[in-house]
């Protein structure tokens, strides 16, 4: 497998963060109590990650991808259970995107991507209620 270049991998991670920010907004509307608090914290974390990635991409001389006006959700979200399933789904997407960064040749970006994979996998496990053997990898 050839190492991929940094900008496309960063853009993919940024696109996943945009989608997560949108999705947590939908999920949060169906959550209450500690789940809502947790979703709020994750939503804030994704906004911070978005800003970090956008700055990194700009620093490399590229224009950061912008958020879409609307995202097609993978299933209908109508209660707390489907909201938590959506949060896990979003985090799986973020995990996959950051795993792409681990394949770049820049060692600092690999390290950054690997830590972001861990954070996203932790959030996915929280929302799913179980761990996975290979977060982000297609089996």
């Amino acid at each position: 497998m050839m190492a991929i270049t940094a900008v496309p991998a960063l853009q993919a991670a940024l696109a996943a963060e945009h989608a997560a920010i949108y999705g947590y907004g939908v999920a949060g509307a169906h959550l209450t109590g500690s789940s809502l608090t947790g979703a709020g914290q994750d939503w804030t974390g994704h906004q911070e990650a978005r800003d970090t990635l956008a700055a990194m991409i700009s620093g490399l001389g590229a224009a950061p991808v912008t958020a879409q006006a609307f995202y097609r959700l993978p299933f209908r979200v109508h209660d707390a259970a489907t909201a938590m399933a959506l949060a896990a789904y979003l985090e799986d997407g973020v995990t996959r995107a950051y795993l792409g960064l681990v394949a770049v040749s820049d060692q600092r970006l690999r390290h950054f991507g690997a830590l972001a994979v861990q954070s996203a996998a932790q959030r996915a496990a929280f929302w799913r209620g179980s761990t996975q053997a290979f977060p982000g990898l297609a089996l």
Binding site: L99, R110, T131
Partner: protein, 171 residues
Amino acid sequence: MLLASAAALPLLLATAGCRSWDVYTGADPLAGPPPLGHDVLTLQAVIAAEEHLIDLYRTAIDGDPRTSARPRLLRPLLAQHEQHLARLRARLVEPPGTRTSPSAAHPTAGAGGSGSPGPAPARISTARLRAAERASAAGLVQRLATVEPALAQLFASIAASDATHATALGG
């Protein structure tokens, strides 16, 4: 005839514009197997660490009283470590004739799994397992900087799994 042919080779090469020492400058093919590559050595070390973690989990489960609820938490995590090990071993390709990796002769049946009577398994605390998971995740992230991209992604994914295990263990 053979002797004559061998003697004529430098002359032929000279005629073709080549010097005999230009023909092949690589490793001596008769010097034995080549040294193992960096990725192979890294993979061997990661496999050995994964085997150690599996042994730790097996010892912990074997050491728990039958009434304990902890094995119900530990068994799914152990199963995921066994998946890690299988995937890592599938990536390991060693040239024939190279030295045996530490893992090849390593008994994967953990302490207490051999069937032979022995001392009671040691009690492994949840805190120790949690620390081992964290150390494994950190070690994998350190190693992924210098290996080929697909292997780096596998290490990162396993590290993330280990990090979720640490959280599941209360960390």
